[in-house]
Symmetry: none
Subunit: 220 residues, 4 copies
DNA sequence: GATGAATGAGCCTTCATTCAT
DNA sequence: GATGAATGAAGGCTCATTCAT
């Protein structure tokens, strides 16, 4: 093979991809489509168009539209879980550092991009009338909640403060979800940095020794 | 209206309702339908069925499906606005009492029924890809936010605490929205009372002199 | 209304028909379509085209294609049953006259038209892999078979001949079905009259006192 | 074929079968598929699945689906023709023995298996709207009919009976086809033995000297 | 006002056919 | 030869919208 052909092979997308690669490509296109035109108006034709593929291929890799959407949600949930799990593993030993890692993880670009947030919102909106979506989200949330509660309980112990770890964890979690929603739906949205600061303001209210609006207090 | 007609109206269920009454009936059916089967699967036929009316009547009162949905959202937003506005007007003079009134208003049965919450979620999910919906929600939120910020600023002044009223107000608002979402989407949801306590836990964190988990502290 | 308009009203098909009338019209179009292009190539669009209606209307009156086809078969079966039942009721008292009535009924234009026969063939071909079709045909056949056996048994008694009524009835029935098939599938088909004579040749073989190739022997 | 190749063929399952063997394998799978799910629902994918081969191979050996089906019908027809031809060649010299051979041939397991009958029914059902299928069946039937008529004419001569050989032959043929159909489509089908007896009851009616319900009378 | 039959655009899905590997 | 990913035409079905009654 001469250089010209070699270059051509490298630059053009291959005609045939492995099953897994195509599935990921289509799921990515689905997220983008939902983010752009919403869940209700998402069609297989549009997903295929975004992916640059024929619409018949979508049904080849995912038997039905229903499955494509379910697996897209599953992929989002799995990506989200992996993100905070890994952040937690990389965190320092103290409860404050671990809480900081979890709060910060939710604002990592990988899970907090506009497209991802829009897709999440759309699925949330549909989930309340779809038990199958609730299950997908629910099991993930459950694990996240439990961890957050444990860490809050630890931090209360460490700081010697009184408080209800379950409710504090809940406030922190819904604050994150809430500023996410704001980032999506407000007409003049504040930016991600301000969103994160807002979360830390909440963290500071419960744990003033550990946090301020900028994040984790330096350990002096 | 003469006596004969008056008698007819009173004794028989009216065959012809006024324009406004029919519109409200259809909007109510729309909310219920969205809550039950979701925004994406809501059809005019189903709305008509829920309302107990004929198929064609929906298009007679609302020219298009788009208008029916938009006006439904408008009605929800207006109802919500009236609810907190009136609660605020009925509240006592102090900042703590007014904040309490606003927090409590969002859990009034009129705006916090399962059907209402589900419908809200559905519209939120769709709003991020529909500018027209964002406007409907946005203008309302804007007024609500401003009031909440004012009250928080007043309360900070009254209690002599330092703090960022804008971010505190934001945390309180998204906490309310967040527990609303939980009430809708969690597999084993806590109840409305626990949701409200969670909000007060957040309020207590910022204003311990004024609130505890049960609500407004008695003014001694 | 002036004469011109009156005439127009009478000649043009009405825009809206009753449910039952439309259903019959669509079933008739289905029979014609199956006869013309076969079961496998029958599409709702083609049925609608033959009926001169929009394809959406087919799904309005019959929820699915499956139901349209099933009800078409049901209508064919009901029409067939009514035809031989009424022929039997109009027949004379003797066994020979009743057998003659049944044999003759199957060649009545109402049930023996080319379109009807083609449609029957198509359903038979599909029935062997469709239990639901078999049931539709089966219950009808059962009643027909029982009657034919009874009459053959009566005729054997009357003529004092030995013979197996069940098998004789079966031969007569399948002979009718067979010449039907011939009328449909042979390249140079003989005509309906020759088909009927063939059946009478079979009848004559079993009951020479009662039949000859032209039909029932005149009672002398 | 040299020794090396022979050994390879015998010891290993051949990875590459000859064209002809693959074609037969696919035709057999087509018959089975049509028998199981019907003509209308037969797809190339299903045929390939039944044959245990890949999807694309079907189009490699038969350019189109149309050709696969046509050649399947051709194979069925050829198999059927060979069956009665060989039976006739093996039969004794008398007309009765030859007629018996033909009647018996149609119930030989090779052509009278459930799968074969189902496939025949399906093709018959479709043939009335497909000239190309009618030709395939027709030419075969024509030869079969002619032979049957000749034999019936011979037998009439031998027995000295009056009768119309053409119509008698037709009754015998359609009786066979009819009991075939019964074997396929009746809810509580009688068995092949009873089907064959029914045919002989018809034969006995025309030729009582030669046949009874059990078959050919022993020549005493 | 009210009804529900009728229309047709657009969607999901199937599947014969093609083709790169 | 053989595989299976990829394409696109066509079909069934849904549903917003229209309109005669």
């Amino acid at each position: 093979m001469n250089d010209a052909k070699l270059a051509e092979t490298e630059t053009r997308p291959p005609r045939k991809l492995s099953r897994e690669a195509r599935r990921e490509q289509l799921i990515e296109a689905t997220i983008e489509t939902i983010a752009r035109i919403g869940y209700a108006r998402t069609t297989l034709t549009e997903v295929a168009r975004v992916a640059g593929l024929s619409h018949g291929l979508v049904n080849f890799h995912f038997e039905t539209k229903e499955r494509l959407l379910t697996e897209t949600l599953l992929a989002l949930a799995e990506e989200y879980r992996r993100n905070w799990t890994e952040a937690l593993e990389a965190a320092g030993p103290g409860a404050a550092a671990r809480l900081d890692a979890m709060l910060r993880a939710d604002f990592a670009p990988a899970v907090c991009s506009p497209g991802r947030l829009s897709a999440w919102c759309a699925f949330w909106g549909e989930a309340q009338s779809r038990p199958i979506y609730q299950e997908q989200c629910g099991s993930n949330d459950l694990a996240y909640n439990r961890r957050l509660e444990e860490i809050c309980a630890d931090l209360l112990r460490e700081t010697g403060r009184a408080g209800d770890a379950e409710r504090i964890a809940r406030v922190l979690r819904v604050t994150i979800e809430g500023v996410w929603l704001d980032l999506m739906t407000m007409n003049a949205p504040y930016d991600r940095d301000e969103a994160q600061r807002t979360v830390y303001v909440a963290a500071e209210a419960f744990f003033p020794e550990a946090f301020n609006a900028d994040g984790l207090r330096s350990q002096t």
